[in-house]
């Protein structure tokens, strides 16, 4: 075979593989939007569900998800970043830190339902937070920690080693060096990682199943010790537990969920490119 023919075949195969990656996504999104867009209205987004969730809107589920995600980041971001700083900047390479690193990598791969059970045992039962936003947010935070730590460590490791040397050679302490000469340059990556992990958390059902999610609760939570509805679980319920519900309601709910994740991803991209422009090396 001639090389040009070979090359054409290779390119075609590569292109087809790419297509196969994209096609399902396009198909899924297409289906959701096609079936869901008629269900989307201002009322749908801002009113309580009625008539056993067959009528009305999904407002409490949206609010519940926003609460959960925001509260979970309050716990996971600072702890994750501090752990990453410790592991990347202070910890020496020894058996213990290697074990910790291995544990973090493995924790990131643990099934989310396991985190759900863990949250049930620790926060709901043992710490007596009950089935509540607090328990759910903490569970999501724990699930997200390995991802945030890994992303933060990578961003820290990407800051050139020379920045630290320069900083120390100017007589800055190790903490000053981390605080002023390393962290600012890692922040775009850290934030991106955090937001992406949040987008994932927003869509998870298993961790909130036992810890926070209410089946049908047509009112807004009054405090973090209340139960709340949440979008992914609500979607699961209206798709499997409630007969005679309009198809467009299900797909519209899915559309909102996808929309939230999508918006967060866009945010992540914008933040990164904004900050990168300022802190480029």
């Amino acid at each position: 075979m001639r090389t040009t023919t070979k090359q054409k075949i290779a390119f075609s195969v590569l292109f087809l593989s790419t297509l196969m990656v994209i096609l399902p996504v396009v198909f899924v999104l297409g289906t959701i939007i096609k079936n869901g867009w008629q269900g989307i209205s201002w009322e749908f987004l801002t009113s309580m569900p009625r008539d056993g969730m067959r009528q009305g809107g999904i407002y409490p589920a949206i609010v519940g998800t926003v609460y959960l995600v925001s509260l979970s980041i309050v716990f996971s971001l600072p702890i994750g970043v501090m752990a990453a700083i410790y592991l990347n900047e202070y910890a020496r390479d020894n058996l213990l830190t290697r074990l910790i690193r291995l544990a973090i990598v493995n924790l990131a791969g643990v099934s989310s339902v396991v985190y759900g059970l863990f949250g049930l045992a620790l926060f709901v039962t043992f710490m007596k937070f009950g089935v509540s936003i607090l328990s759910g947010a903490l569970t999501l935070a724990i699930m997200n920690l390995p991802v945030i730590i890994t992303a933060s460590r990578e961003s820290l490791a990407n800051v050139p080693y020379q920045f630290r040397e320069v900083s120390l050679s100017l007589g800055l302490s190790r903490w000053q060096t981390i605080r002023h000469s390393v962290l600012p340059f890692a922040i775009p990556g850290i934030l991106t990682g955090a937001i992406l992990s949040l987008a994932r958390a927003a869509g998870e059902t298993a961790p909130i199943l036992f810890t926070v999610a209410a089946f049908y609760l047509p009112k807004l939570p009054a405090s973090i010790f209340d139960q709340a509805m949440a979008l992914p679980y609500h979607l699961y319920i209206i798709s499997t537990q409630i007969p005679n519900i309009a198809v467009k309601t299900r797909y519209a709910t899915a559309m909102v969920l996808v929309g939230i994740s999508f918006t967060m991803n866009i945010f992540a991209v914008i933040i990164r490119s904004r900050l990168r422009k300022k802190k480029k090396w």
Partner: protein, 253 residues
Amino acid sequence: MVTQTASKIIVKQLSIWFGKVQALKELSLQIHSSEILSVIGPANSGKTSFLRQLNRLNELEANFRVSGEVLLDGEDIQKLSPEILRKNVGMIFALPQVLPMSIYDNVSYGPRMHGIKNRGVLDGIVEESLEASFLWDEVKQRLKESATKLSGGQQQRLCISRTLALRPEVILFDEPCSGLDPVSTAKVEESMLKLKENYTIILVTNNTKQAARVGDRSAFFLMGELIEFDKTQKIFTAPADKRTEEYILGKFG
């Protein structure tokens, strides 16, 4: 003003190891105030390790060990805090390491981190430091621009200004011109010659001609040992050791 022959730095029996590798072997020498000491020698002869011992950067390495003593103004540097030592003993690296911030912020970085907040004071320090490395005229109109936009030679002079902004007493140069063209190199050398009036300078260089041009005295390192240490002119015209002569003539390294 200190007299010409006062010893600014006294190194006694200094040995350095990284794991099993001995980078420096029982090195002893004295460095005067207001002189430029050039350190020459082939790669891996311990020049960088020596330099980084003078501001204690070596101790960042996990497998580093040291024996012997370094005295700065008669005081054991191990007894100083590393922050104070490094503020007094500045360092310029082989490749210009500007931070990704404005020219102004680069130069004022050290002073700001050491607690100077007054804008007027900082302005003064920035101008003075840029003047001293002959960069002021080239950048005074664009202090707010990113330092990464400067040419390599300008960046290296910016690094010198950044070090000068801390008003150190000693400046260590580790092959500062290895990435620069001859014109930029000449400018860096010019500023070194000017600076030596007020600072003690140690210049590690792989360019023997540069050592001959700017060094008052020169030290020849080979495989971690100090082979010869004398007036630069003597080293380059009548070296006592055969290995020094061979190195200078370019026979190895």
